[in-house]
Amino acid sequence: MSVRELKAGAITRAVEQLCLRANLTLPDDVHNAMQRAQDAEPWPLAKQTLGLLRQNEQDALAKNLPICQDTGMACVFIELGQDVHITGGALRDAVNEGVRRGYVGGYLRKSITGDPLRRRNTEDNTPAFLTVDLVPGDRCRITVAPKGAGSENMSRLGMLKPADGVQGVKDFVLETVRLAGSNPCPPIVLGVGVGGSFDKCAALAKHALLRGLDIPNPDPYYASLEWELCDAINALGIGPQGFGGATTCLGVAIEQAPTHVACLPVAVNINCHVTRRASAEL
């Protein structure tokens, strides 16, 4: 098996472009889900509100503006083929340079504080929140998923007891959404992690948000749980922006993983109606 060389500069350019694309345009599946929600919404104020949110997406395109002013943490996910050899610089540096160029040159907001307590803005939105997954092959797939804080702050993790079972997981997810209420800019998208360890569970929830809203979990048991949770959330009546209505959640994506016999971790990562992600393969 031969090794394919990939220049760090190509990664930088890809990340730069993905930061812009992700912040200025919605993925097709999210755009379509908003349209379907507006068409189906029976409550007049909610239907009107969904119409305005869709109008905002059009305005952003027409005026070359970000859809939302919180252009987020630059969450970057890389599936790196093990037969790729990166040349001309370190991967992490290449990604950070791409974020720097995308956010500074693209008039995106710099929302990162270099230290959580002393809170000085890094002024270029670095560092990226980088996750690298080593996979077979010689490709490099990069996804940039900017994550806003309004929804991030409403996310929760619970170390449930195994005896709590699937009902405990459902209760925890619904409680999280109820507590969040209007704060995360509904209609929301949920990434749910079930199992793993304390840290892996949170990572599963974040990673679940990368999956298209039109793609269910490949395991029918979890796919059914995703639909059940989405319906239960929409029955809460929170509605678009929390003003009331049938559309509270556009989709639930669950990722599950093996766990300890004594553990049942569940993590809920909330995303807003501006669920952003853009991918490229090098």
Partner: protein
């Protein structure tokens, strides 16, 4: 009901508003969010003046994206207001009349809104481009070192807003979902 309001805002002008009403706001709006609020509290603690006259003022919780050349402002939707709750009753007691943001407020803020005859209005969360369309001018008036969190003076025309908390104890985040759920019964 829809109301046309102009700043500065008086208690009398705000009294008719009820949770769920819509407002088209014109005039001057000041931006302030987390870091600016912390600095305003430091000024008040030292007995110094705030960067703007708070009596009758409207404050928008927003950190816009940078404007491109030729633009007035970048995307400018609201941030979550609840993070400002601990500072808010003090500002309302000083005459702050109108807060613009999104998301839940605590009991102390709700009580202070009623006591002071103020309002809390919703801008559309996540609608950064749409909200920017009503902003005609933007000027940093304090703390430019705070970047997107600097205090800005905005001139707005017909900014589209929805009443969340009114001066009579109304709360759209309670009454809105309740009314929808009631419609299903």
């Amino acid at each position: 009901m829809q109301y046309q309001l102009n700043t500065p805002l008086t208690r009398e002008a705000l009294a008719p508003l009820r949770a769920g009403d819509t407002v088209l706001l014109s005039g001057t709006v000041y931006t302030a969010r987390d870091a600016a609020h912390a600095r305003m509290m430091e000024l008040l603690d030292k007995g110094e003046a705030l960067p703007f006259d708070i009596a009758g003022a409207a404050v928008y919780y927003v950190g816009p994206t940078p404007e491109r050349p030729g633009q007035v402002i970048g995307a400018a939707g609201p941030t979550t207001a609840g993070r400002m709750d601990k500072f808010t009753p003090r500002l309302l007691d000083l005459g702050l009349a109108c807060m613009i943001g999104k998301g839940k407020r605590d009991q102390a803020v709700k009580a202070s809104v009623v006591k002071n005859g103020a309002v809390y209005l919703a801008a559309l969360g996540g609608a950064g481009a749409l909200m920017a369309a009503s902003i005609e001018s933007c000027e940093i008036i304090a703390w430019p070192d705070l970047g997107c969190e600097a205090v800005r003076r905005l001139r707005v025309r017909d900014m589209p807003l929805t009443v969340l908390l009114d001066a009579h104890g109304g709360d759209l985040y309670q009454s809105g979902p309740e009314a929808y759920l009631q419609s299903l019964v």
